[in-house]
């Protein structure tokens, strides 16, 4: 019995050694990749638009909460703010506001891909703390 407990402890410690950082990194990309998958799974343009809009709105809510949480530094807040600007611009383009041409129905799939790709390759300088807060809030909101 004690042998099994010892072995179990060793296995648990091994599993826990997988960096926690893996939980923060990639969560933003996965979130929008999921959105893009859902957009492409439906044929209805209104539904595509709604999925994208909700995705942007929910992310902006989360980013606002993180910025107002008091748990991140000024520099970290700046990184979150830059990311907020990126998301807001995409929502504006989707809806044709703030000087953007509205994304046409036929372009919604490509726009979903564009969102994923732009976020993946952008220099998103969000700290690990902020990323983890975002990941947690996304789970709570959704």
């Amino acid at each position: 019995m004690k042998t099994r407990l010892t072995f179990g402890l060793i296995v648990t410690l091994f599993v826990l050694s997988i960096p926690v950082i893996a939980g923060g990194e990639g969560e933003l990309q996965k979130y929008f990749n999921k959105t893009a998958t859902e957009v492409k799974a439906t044929e209805d343009a209104s539904a595509k638009r709604e999925i994208l809009n909700e995705s942007f709105t929910d992310m902006l809510k989360v980013l606002n909460k993180v910025q107002n949480s008091g748990m991140i530094s000024e520099e970290e807040s700046m990184g979150v703010g830059n990311f907020k600007t990126t998301i807001k611009e995409k929502q504006d383009e989707l809806n044709g506001t703030n000087g953007f041409e509205r994304v046409t129905d036929s372009q919604l799939n490509n726009f979903a891909d564009y969102t994923v790709q732009d976020i993946e390759q952008a220099s998103i300088t969000i700290s690990l703390v902020a990323l983890i807060l975002i990941a947690i809030l996304l789970v709570l909101i959704l």
Binding site: T6, G26, K88, Q107, S123
Partner: protein
């Protein structure tokens, strides 16, 4: 009596197992600290090669990306497999592959080596070892030591190529580039320091591939240009699938009847075509003939450096009031020599504020946002 003896025997067995486990863990830790490497096919080390390739593949950061079917990839691991294939396919090349990985621990306490070397000579794997990356300032000292100890003897006869894959390398500041080493700075000057040691005092790499975002700035090309004759880089964002590397798989064939500059343009066009078909974001790949770009770079060097210091700054996150832009959009960079030595393949993004921008100078600079853009940010 027998019962108490059995309990005694059981307790010895448990204690013995626990001690042995600790011994094994300690042994693994000690072995992992060893810096010697095992050489296979040692006879090949005396053979000459026609080409020398050095890959630095950065993986200590957020390198996940998805294709349009939603499949997830890790950019550094995909590139590593491509690099190995190149090494195996080239029967007259030596190939160094340095994979920079995140720091990990075994059983929470024992650090695992965070660099991995693959050295191939003429298609055969000679050395595959893990090593410790620079724990202090990142100047590639360890990678250079390994390179000097294993490289082929006929260095001056070989065509030499250097390839770097990773996120945008900061020109200032640089803290947090490696997620595992948040207090360590890494900038283009650190990579340049490494390049200087790789090349020695009298030679340059014939070709350098800089697969990062925003690598095509006058400052970055000017800095690396001391160590490379031709540089392929992206002045804008670059998708994490990076560049196609197929042309490198048989260098003897693909370089047989063309000069290196033509090869570089062919490589860039193939990479551009593939990215243009697959991504909706902007695609920009430039071939810089370093010597021919010197006049432009020298003429605006102080202007760019000043903008770097005053606009971008040294912090990890640059201010929201500042953005990357095409140098040609700024009057201070107007010059008849701006296009000299630059062969650019460019396509704007399908969406975004710059979707109608059809022309690009091939050079990336910094500027402050205009009043309208600043108002939008303030309203958020």
């Amino acid at each position: 009596m027998l019962h108490s003896n059995n309990r005694f025997v059981r307790s010895i067995t448990h204690s013995d197992f626990f001690n042995k486990s600790l011994y094994v863990m300690l042994l693994i830790f000690i072995i992992s600290c060893s810096s010697d490497y095992t050489i296979q096919h040692e006879a090949l080390l005396t053979e000459k090669s026609d080409y020398s390739l050095v890959f630095i593949i950065h993986g200590d950061g957020g390198y996940f990306y998805h294709d349009t079917n939603g499949n997830e990839y890790k950019a550094d691991e995909v590139t590593l497999e491509k690099a190995k294939r190149i090494a195996q396919q080239n029967l007259d090349a030596e190939v160094f592959i340095f994979h920079q990985k995140p720091k990990r621990h075994f059983l929470f306490f024992f650090p695992i080596k965070d660099g991995e070397l693959y050295y191939y000579r003429n298609g055969q794997l000679i050395v595959n070892e893990k090593y410790w990356r620079d724990q202090e300032e990142s100047n590639f000292d360890l990678e250079v030591d390994i390179y000097r100890s294993l490289r082929a003897g006929n260095q001056h006869e070989m065509l030499k190529i250097f390839l770097y894959f990773g996120h945008e390398i900061p020109e200032l500041g640089g803290l947090g580039y490696d997620v595992s080493y948040p207090k360590r700075a890494f900038t283009i000057h650190n990579l340049a320091s490494g390049l200087k040691k790789f090349t020695g005092d009298t030679t340059r790499f014939d070709l350098m591939i800089l697969a990062t975002c925003f690598g095509g700035t006058p400052y970055t090309i000017g800095t690396f240009g001391t160590y490379a004759k031709y540089i392929i880089a992206s002045p804008e964002n670059l998708h994490l699938s990076y560049f196609d590397l197929n042309l490198f798989e048989r260098l003897d064939f693909h370089l047989s009847n063309i000069d290196l500059h033509t090869f570089a343009k062919k490589f860039s066009k193939i990479a551009f075509d593939r990215l243009s078909n697959q991504v909706q974001t902007e695609v920009s790949i430039a071939v810089y003939d370093v010597d021919r770009t010197r006049d432009f770079i020298d003429s605006i060097h102080n202007i760019y450096e000043n903008s770097l210091i005053t606009l971008r700054g040294e912090t990890r996150v640059y201010p929201a009031t500042v953005e990357h832009c095409d140098c040609a959009e700024l009057v201070e960079y107007e010059s008849p020599t701006i296009g000299d030595g630059v062969d650019l393949f460019y396509r704007p993004a399908s969406f975004g504020r710059l979707k109608y921008k059809q022309i690009h100078s091939g050079w990336q600079c910094w500027r402050t946002l205009n009043k309208k853009q600043l108002r939008i940010i303030d309203e958020q």
